[in-house]
């Protein structure tokens, strides 16, 4: 009896009883999807933040020469690489000019050599630490025995010494791929302008390519 009285009172107090009837459906079809949409946009928006994702969307090419105001000269001893990277042609450091006794054919030409001079002009100082421990490379793995000024690929193609990356890339193809893209090796002095990178032989000694152990250049003082 009391219960009905109260419920009667309530019904009488309610100004718009129809809304109450549909409240459940309103919540189900309007408010809940609304909240869902809001949350998903927030999640999507926040996942798009960050330099990496923002930057990756930028694909418009930039002129190599317009990134900085200063004009950047092409180094003298650079040669055009025979493969292209993602941005077109690029250059690498020349090798032949670095070799002290190039051309090789000036000695390797079947001329007679005095025995007393032989020690000075031989390559006795070269130690090969390249290849498997049990199966080291030999001179003629890379050097062309028929044309001494050139290297020779495994398929007997002549390779110019300036384009040593072609030689190295036969085994070290992963490093070559990274080198072309820019994850291995480094650029010469400038990040802008024409792309000039170090050649394989600029950093690695081809006869013993691994970096040797040495003392660090400096030291750091303790933080605390």
């Amino acid at each position: 009896m009391i219960n009905t009285k109260i419920s009667n009172n309530r019904r009488g107090g309610m100004k718009n009883p129809i809304i109450k009837k549909y409240l459940f459906y309103i919540m189900l079809f309007c408010i809940l999807p609304g909240i869902f949409v809001l949350f998903s946009t927030v999640v999507l928006w926040s996942s798009e933040q960050g330099v990496a994702s923002r930057v990756k969307k930028i694909t418009t090419k930039i002129e190599k020469t317009t990134q900085v105001e200063t004009s950047i000269p092409l180094p003298k001893n650079s040669v055009k690489v025979m493969v292209e990277y993602q941005g077109g042609t690029f250059f690498t450091e020349a090798r032949k000019i670095e070799i002290k006794r190039f051309k090789c054919s000036s000695c390797h030409n079947n001329q007679k050599v005095l025995i007393k001079n032989a020690a000075d002009i031989s390559h006795a100082d070269i130690r090969i630490v390249h290849g498997d421990k049990d199966n080291l490379l030999t001179c003629n793995t890379c050097h062309n025995p028929d044309d001494r000024d050139f290297l020779i690929s495994s398929k007997a193609y002549k390779i110019d010494m300036d384009h040593a990356y072609d030689m190295c890339g036969q085994c070290h193809f992963r490093q070559k791929k990274d080198w072309i893209g820019g994850a291995h090796g480094k650029r010469v002095t400038y990040w802008a302008g024409e792309r000039v990178v170090k050649n394989c032989t600029s950093c690695h000694d081809p006869h013993s390519p691994k970096f040797e152990k040495k003392w660090p250049e400096t030291y750091s003082v303790p933080l605390k």
């Binding site: 930039i62 317009t66 990134q67 993602q86 994850a183 970096f211 660090p216 250049e217």
Partner: protein, 309 residues
């Protein structure tokens, strides 16, 4: 006669006392500014004008040139060194990014040495912007690594991780600065106007990467080792009580050069370039390599990635 004498005496005494007091206080004030100043009134005038210059970002182009010529003159008069301070503007379409190859780094620390020389860092307290941590294989955070190793490198079973200012895209240090002495340039580099820094070191506390350095003493650089190519926001003269930090060698990078550390690296572990250029090396690394950043969960968004081969 007697009273007359007494009167004169008192007057002369007061006059003398006053003049002595003025002269004494004048020498005291000037003496604090350094003995060399009185010898050259030009240096004194320039030093005086230095107090009234504006914040770097509020200066017009002509004001910047004036300030720079003043600083160059001061260096000539006081240190007797001919320097060249630049105010090169950031380039259009440039956002600097850096990648560090943890597989390639051998811990030779040539980058650290090059950085110290390039940025005129204090030799007395051994300030260094870069720190190389020797970490055992499998370790992830430089907290666990050894930052003060000194032995033949590379050490077996270890790898090396270089840490410096990461030029965050959402830099907490900038928010912490109460005087707006530090800010982010349009090309992404966080810089400091040394003359507006009050040395409160809030930024140092705010940086989660230990990327900022404080000058506890007057920085000392041997005159013959001074790098004369300077930038107003980077490697110009700092004094005691100022913050400083890595600026990606703004004096080099804004002219298209690699940073000193990247150029000095003998192993090619350091990749520096323009993030907005889709052909750049740094973009190649981001798209083709496994990259990670330090303390990425903090939301500081560093523009410095570590990658493995």
């Amino acid at each position: 006669m007697d009273s007359d004498k007494k009167k004169i005496n008192r007057r002369t005494f007061l006059k003398g006392a006053a003049s002595v007091a003025i002269a004494g206080s004048a020498t005291a004030t000037i003496g604090c500014k350094g003995k060399g100043l009185l010898n050259s009134s030009e240096a004194f005038a320039l030093e005086f004008q230095e107090y009234f210059k504006k914040h770097y970002r509020l200066m017009t182009k002509s004001e910047r040139t004036k300030t720079v010529t003043r600083l160059e003159k001061l260096a000539k008069l006081k240190q007797d060194s001919i320097i060249n301070i630049e105010t090169t503007e950031p380039g259009q379409n440039v956002l600097y990014g850096y990648a560090f190859n943890v597989t390639r780094c051998e811990g030779f620390m040539e980058c650290v040495q090059a950085c110290v020389k390039e940025n005129n860092l204090d030799r007395r307290s051994n300030t260094q912007y870069i720190r190389i941590f020797e970490m055992e294989n499998g370790q992830m955070s430089p907290d666990q690594g050894d930052g003060k190793y000194f032995h033949m490198v590379p050490n077996e079973g270890h790898f090396y991780m270089g840490v410096q200012c990461f030029q965050c895209d959402n830099p907490p240090c900038v928010k912490a600065c109460p005087t707006k002495a530090t800010w982010q340039e349009p090309d992404g580099i966080v810089v400091i106007d040394y003359d507006w820094c009050i040395g409160c070191r809030y930024c140092m506390a705010a940086c989660p990467y230990w990327g900022r350095r404080f000058n506890w003493n007057q920085p000392e650089v041997p005159k013959e080792e001074l790098n004369k190519k300077q930038h107003y926001l980077s490697n110009r003269k700092r004094v005691r009580g100022m913050m400083e930090k890595c600026t990606f060698c703004i004096q080099r990078s804004r002219k298209g050069k690699l940073t000193a550390c990247a150029e000095a690296c003998p192993t090619g572990a350091r990749v520096f370039g323009n993030l907005l250029d889709p052909d750049s090396e740094i973009r190649f690394v981001l798209e083709n390599k496994k990259v990670y950043r330090l303390k990425e969960d903090l939301g500081t968004d560093p523009k410095f990635w570590y990658f493995i081969d």
